[in-house]
Amino acid sequence: MTNPFIPILVMAALALLMAIGGVAASAVIGPKRYNKVKVDAYECGIQPSPHAMGMGRFPIKYYLVAMTFIIFDIEVVFMYPWAVAFTELAMFGLIAMLGFLFLITVPFIYEWRRGGLDWD
C-alpha cells in the first residue's frame, strides 16, 4: 500500500507548476507595453482609491461588502457538521437549520432594506 498522501503531493506539485509556469510563460512570451491602468493596484476591478491611507475619500462601500461577506460566509460553517449528522438528527436537525437560516436572513433583510447592498 502506497502512502495515502502521495496524491496530495502530486496535486501540490501540479498546482505549483501551473502557478510558476503561468507567470514564467507570460514573462517570456508576452508583449511588454506599460500604461497607467497596468501599474495601478488591483482592487477587485473597481477604481482604485487615490491614496487609500490619508487624504481622499475612503472606500467605505468596500469595507461594508467585505464585512457582509465575512459574516454570512462564516455562518455557513455550521452547515458542514449539520450535513454530516443530517441522517441522525432528521426532522429536528432540519427544523433547527431552517430556524438558523431564518435568523441569518433577518440581518440580511435589515441590510437590504437599509441600503447596505446598494452600490451607490
Binding site: E88, G93, Y110, R113
Partner: protein
C-alpha cells in the same frame, strides 16, 4: 452517533422572549417607517423585558417545586440562584431601558448617525432632521439576552458564547454618544480591543480545561478534579485564565483599566446599563464557576483571588478619591464595589451567594439611578445653549439648592454606595462581609471595612459639594443646569430610590428570598 437533544422550551422562555424581541427589533428597523420606529422599539423592548420577568418568576415557582434541572443537554442549568440573578438583571435592565429611551429636551443620548464623521455636514443634516439611531434598542436586547444566559450557563462553551453575545453589542453601544463623539469612539475602540483580548484568555482557559477534563461541562470538570492526576498545571492554569476572563468583565484590578475610560466615554444611559447589568451577569457566572469547579482548588487559587480582591478594593477606592470627573469617579467606585463583591466569591459559602445577590441588587439600583441623574445635569454656555453633560465635579457644586429633589436622590444613591445604614448598600455590605467573616476571611473584611470608610470620604465630598458649596460659573460664562426628563428617567430614578430605601429599611423579604436562592447551586 449524534442524538437530537431534548429542548426544554418552557424553561428557555425568558431567553427566547428576549431573543425574539431582538430579532423583531431588527425587522422593525427594516420595515417600520422612520417616524414611528422609536415608539415601536421602546414598546417591544419594554414588553419583552416585562414578559421575560414574568417568565422568570413562573420558572422560579416551578423550580421551587421540582428542584433544579439541566437544560439543552446540559448547556444550561436552571436553578434558584440563576433565576434570581436573571430576575435582578431584568429589573435593572428595565430601569436602564427607561433611561435609554428618555429624550430630555427632545434629544436622546445617542448620535443620530453613528457611522457619519463627527462634525461633518451629513451628521448636521441628520441632527436637524431629528433622526435617531433606534438600533440602540435591538442591540440592548441582544446584550440582555447574553446576560440572561450568562448566569445559567453550565458549560464553558455556552458561557463563552453568552460572553460574546453580551459584549459585542456593548462595544457598539459605547461608541454612540451624541456629544463628544471622538471620546465615545475611543471608548468603543478601547473596550472592544481589551474585551477581545480578555476573551482570548478566557478561550485559552476553556481549551486548557477541556484538555484536562475532556469536557467543558462545569459539573464534569468538577468531578474530574480529584480524579485526573498529573495534569494539575492544565487545571490550574485553565481555571485561572477563565477566572481572569470573567474578572475583566467585572472590572477587577489589574484587569480594570478599561472601566474608567469606557464608563466616561460611553453614552451615559449605556454606562448605567452596562455598569449595573454587566456586573450582575459577570458575577453570576464567576460565582457559578468558582463555586462549582474550584472548591477543591481553594488552597491553590486563594492567594490569587485574595490579591486581586485586595488590589481591587484599594486601587478602586484610592483612584476614585483623586478623580475630578463625575462618571470617572463612579467608574472607580464601581471597581471598588467589584472588590467588595469578590469577598462573597472568596467566602465559598452559601451565605456568600445570597450576600452577592443582595449586594448586586443594591449596587445595581444605585448605579442605574445615579447614572440616570447624571444624564440630566447639563452644562449651558454663555448664550444658554446646552453643551452636554456636566462632567466635571465642580459643575455639580450647589446643585442641592437648585434642584433639591435631584440632589437628594443622588445623595441617597451615594450613601447607598457608601454603605450607610438604612440604605440598600448597607444591607448588601452587611450580607457580603458577614459571609466573608463566616468563611474565615477576617483580614479581607478588615481591609474592606477600611476601604469602605475611605470610600465614604469621596461620596461625602460629592454630597458636600452639592449642598454646601456655592454654584460656580465657568470663565466662559457657562453654567450648570438641570433638564427636565421626558418622564421615563424620572420614573426610573424614583423606582431606584424607593428600592434603595426599601432594601435598606426592610431587607427581610429580599434577604429571605436570597437565602432561599443560595441553597442548590451546582
Amino acid at each position: 452517533m449524534f442524538v437530537a437533544p431534548h429542548i426544554e422550551w418552557a424553561a428557555l422562555s425568558p431567553v427566547l422572549i428576549l431573543l425574539g424581541a431582538a430579532v423583531i427589533g431588527v425587522l422593525v428597523e427594516a420595515f417600520v417607517p422612520r417616524g414611528s420606529r422609536r415608539l415601536v422599539q421602546v414598546v417591544v423592548a419594554a414588553l419583552a423585558l416585562g414578559g421575560a420577568l414574568v417568565a422568570v418568576t413562573w420558572r422560579w415557582t416551578v423550580v421551587q417545586q421540582d428542584g433544579p434541572s439541566s437544560l439543552v443537554a446540559g448547556a444550561l442549568r436552571e436553578d434558584a440562584p440563576a433565576l434570581l440573578f436573571q430576575a435582578i438583571l431584568l429589573i435593572l435592565a428595565l430601569l436602564a431601558l427607561l433611561v435609554i429611551a428618555d429624550r430630555a429636551r427632545g434629544e436622546d443620548a445617542f448620535t443620530p448617525t453613528a457611522s457619519a464623521i463627527p462634525g461633518s455636514e451629513y451628521e448636521g443634516q441628520a441632527r436637524r432632521a431629528g433622526l435617531a439611531q433606534t438600533e440602540v434598542f435591538p442591540l440592548t436586547m441582544f446584550a440582555v439576552t447574553g446576560m440572561l444566559v450568562f448566569p445559567a450557563a453550565a458549560d464553558l462553551l455556552t458561557m463563552f458564547i453568552a460572553l460574546e453575545v453580551l459584549s459585542l453589542p456593548l462595544y457598539l453601544l459605547a461608541g454612540m454618544a451624541r456629544r463628544r463623539r471622538l471620546v465615545s469612539q475611543e471608548a468603543s475602540l478601547k473596550y472592544f480591543l481589551l474585551g477581545a483580548f480578555s476573551s482570548a484568555f478566557f478561550l485559552m482557559g476553556l481549551a486548557l480545561l477541556y484538555g484536562y477534563a475532556g469536557s467543558v461541562h462545569l459539573a464534569d470538570i468538577a468531578t474530574a478534579v480529584p480524579l485526573v492526576s498529573g495534569m494539575d498545571g492544565l487545571l490550574l492554569a485553565g481555571s485561572a485564565l477563565v477566572i481572569i476572563g470573567l474578572l475583566f468583565k467585572v472590572g477587577a484590578v489589574p484587569f480594570h483599566s478599561w472601566t474608567p475610560d469606557v464608563y466616561q466615554g460611553a453614552p451615559t444611559p449605556i454606562t448605567g446599563f452596562m455598569a449595573a447589568c454587566t456586573k450582575v451577569a459577570a458575577f453570576a457566572a464567576l460565582l457559578r464557576f468558582v463555586y462549582v469547579v474550584t472548591p477543591g482548588l481553594g488552597w491553590d487559587l486563594a492567594p490569587f483571588l485574595w490579591i486581586v480582591a485586595i488590589l481591587t478594593m484599594v486601587v478602586g477606592t484610592v483612584l476614585a478619591i483623586v478623580q475630578t470627573d463625575m462618571k470617572r469617579t463612579l467608574a472607580y467606585s464601581s471597581v471598588a464595589h467589584a472588590g467588595f463583591l469578590l469577598l462573597g466569591i472568596i467566602a465559598l459559602d452559601e451565605r456568600g451567594i445570597s450576600g452577592i445577590l443582595v449586594y448586586l441588587l443594591a449596587y445595581g439600583l444605585a448605579t442605574v439611578g445615579a447614572f440616570a441623574l447624571v444624564t440630566l445635569v447639563r452644562t449651558k454656555d454663555a448664550e444658554g445653549n446646552l453643551v452636554g453633560e456636566a462632567g466635571h465635579l465642580s459643575e455639580w457644586a450647589g446643585l442641592g439648592r437648585r434642584s433639591p429633589v435631584l440632589a437628594v436622590c443622588f445623595a441617597l444613591f451615594l450613601l447607598s454606595f457608601a454603605g450607610i445604614p438604612l440604605t440598600a448598600g448597607f444591607t448588601g455590605k452587611f450580607a457580603v462581609f458577614g459571609a466573608a467573616v463566616a468563611g474565615g476571611d477576617w483580614p479581607l473584611v478588615v481591609i474592606a471595612v477600611l476601604a469602605s470608610a475611605a470610600a465614604a470620604f469621596f461620596y461625602v465630598r460629592i454630597i458636600v459639594l452639592m449642598f454646601f458649596t456655592e454654584p460656580a460659573t465657568g470663565e466662559d460664562g457657562s453654567a450648570t443646569t438641570v433638564v427636565r426628563s421626558e418622564g421615563l428617567t424620572a420614573v426610573a430614578v424614583v423606582v431606584c430610590a424607593v428600592g434603595t430605601v426599601l432594601v435598606g429599611v426592610v431587607p427581610t423579604a429580599v434577604l429571605a428570598v436570597a437565602a432561599q436562592a443560595s441553597k442548590f447551586l451546582l
